[in-house]
Amino acid sequence: MILKSILSWADERLGVGGTLKGLLFKPIKGGAKYIFSLGFVNLFLFVNQMLTGMFMMFYYVPSPDHAYFAVKYIQNEAPFGYMVRGLHYWGATAMVVCVMLHVVRVFVYGAYKKPRELMWLSGAAMFFLVFGFAFTGYLLPWDQKAYWATVVGTNVPGTTPVVGNLIVRLLRGGTDVSAVTLTRFFTIHTMILPWTIAAFMVMHLTILQLVDHAPPWDQNKARKSAPFYPDQVFKDAVLMLLVFATIAFMATVRPGVLEPLADPTDHTYNPRPEWYFFFLFQLLHYTEGRFEIIGTMVLPNLFVLLMLIIPFIDRNPERDPGKRPVAISGLAAALLGYIALTTIAAVSTGPVPISAAPEKPTVTEGRQLYAKLGCISCHAINGVGGVVAPALDHVGTRRDRQWLAGHFVDPQKYAPGSVMPKFDYLTKEDLDRLTDYMQSLK
């Protein structure tokens, strides 16, 4: 009652009630269908990502000193933090799946054809943006997987002739994945991409109202009709509930993974991407040497290009998939290729990294001590750590064993004026471990 009077009060002034009612009860050609709900589910998942993303920012700090511990706090200590992060984590996966399903559905329906080319193009832009989200969100927890996957991921465009190195530097904000990369990815992930995708979303939904959705290609089926509300909205709601229940369930039984703190010196780590990037990962196994660029640049960019020009090269107005053998077999081939590459990557354990000569256990222990003693707050390795003290890259080539071990105990004796605290309380074994670790940095 109150709601009704507020609405009529507003309508008296704005006069949009009729238009909105028209949209709400607009007939859906072909009747309400679950398959038409995929777009709505993507919208729901986007809202999920925005909501949980904003709430994670309550406790997240985009700095190598804090990011990992902040995420750990969210995951393990903040009340329901595991759920907030889990909904974001699994929501991202669900979004990748639903976006792909939506694209396939639209393609099968021939909904990229005249007059819906702009609908398709704005959708394609969002499709690419979703992968941009997935890629930039990866680095933010600053754990081993985050760091190493980003090192490899940002190296991929580095294979481009001429401008490769420049692209890598632009992505990383320097030569290495560092604090600057983290703030860069954070800003892209939480500011640039959300606003950009929101703009495309407005475009996509406005165009939808103007060109109307693509009804079933069968004229007989298309003649059926049902109002958007409540028929289609009910189906949208049911699917939304199903997706929400699924990601909430996954967040509970399979909480978001958090590996150990990123360690730029640990070259034994074998990074594997998230499953939806497996195809690229696997593709890179087949294209080596001078053919590598085919996997890293040519095929992915060809795919992007194809998505953007498909409405203009396929101008046959026929939408019945049975009568579009070329388009549908092309889709089938792409899907099969994607599924096959993903499956192969999933079942294989991955290559043994070349640098996998087993590390001396004392080096590993030394690395753990380095982390435990907080050396990272003053010293940096590979651009990660403080700036107060000298960076330790290649320290193993600059200093000998005796210097290193003596310096830990009495830094001022070896480096007059040094502000480094004395580590004279460490046992001989621990000093040896730290020295072994320092010597491994070459």
Partner: protein, 170 residues
């Protein structure tokens, strides 16, 4: 024209949509509200801090001891300097007082001549057991959990709400 069955079907679908939307809204509101409010209401749990050696304390002669405590706030841990008043008793036990006057939070001191604790701000006076003798303070000095192990004094540093008659952890 909608007949009765289609009218009731529409109404049912409308309720179902509302129900689903409500359930999902609740599904978000519960974790998100807890997530934001929880840390604000969480009681800070203090760890035992090593304050000093028992040998530094003379029997029934209050002394102020300064020490470093590690405070964990959210995901950060930082070292803070803190001090306490300690009174060693003949039986080897120690009474430890928070250094904060429970009136309005000034630092009080031991007046060795008068043999009482005196707050310089508003002249609250306490005896050596912390009992209030005079002045505006609503309660006596706040004792802190303390233990002696191996000749060393350990304290759990806590803060209490000021200006009220009861000792309540802040």
């Amino acid at each position: 024209m909608p007949d009765d069955t289609s009218e009731s079907r529409r109404r049912f679908l409308g309720y179902a949509i509302g129900g689903i939307a409500g359930a999902i809204a609740f599904g978000y509101a519960l974790p998100l509200a807890n997530y934001v409010v929880g840390p604000s209401l969480k009681k800070t749990e203090e760890e035992w801090s090593k304050v000093g050696s028992l040998d530094d304390l003379k029997v029934e002669e209050p002394a102020t001891l300064t020490f470093s405590a590690y405070m964990k706030v959210g995901w950060t841990e930082r070292k803070v300097e803190a001090d306490i008043w300690a009174v060693r008793h003949a039986d080897g036990t120690v009474t430890v007082f928070s250094p904060i006057c429970p009136h309005l939070g000034c630092g009080y001191r031991w007046d060795a001549a008068a043999k009482n604790f005196a707050c310089p701000c508003h002249a609250s006076i306490y005896d050596i057991t912390g009992k209030i003798l005079g002045g505006p303070a609503p309660r006596g000095l706040d004792t802190l959990p303390a233990k002696v192990e191996g000749g060393l004094l350990y304290v759990k540093y806590e803060k209490f709400r000021l200006g009220i008659a009861e000792k309540v952890v802040a």
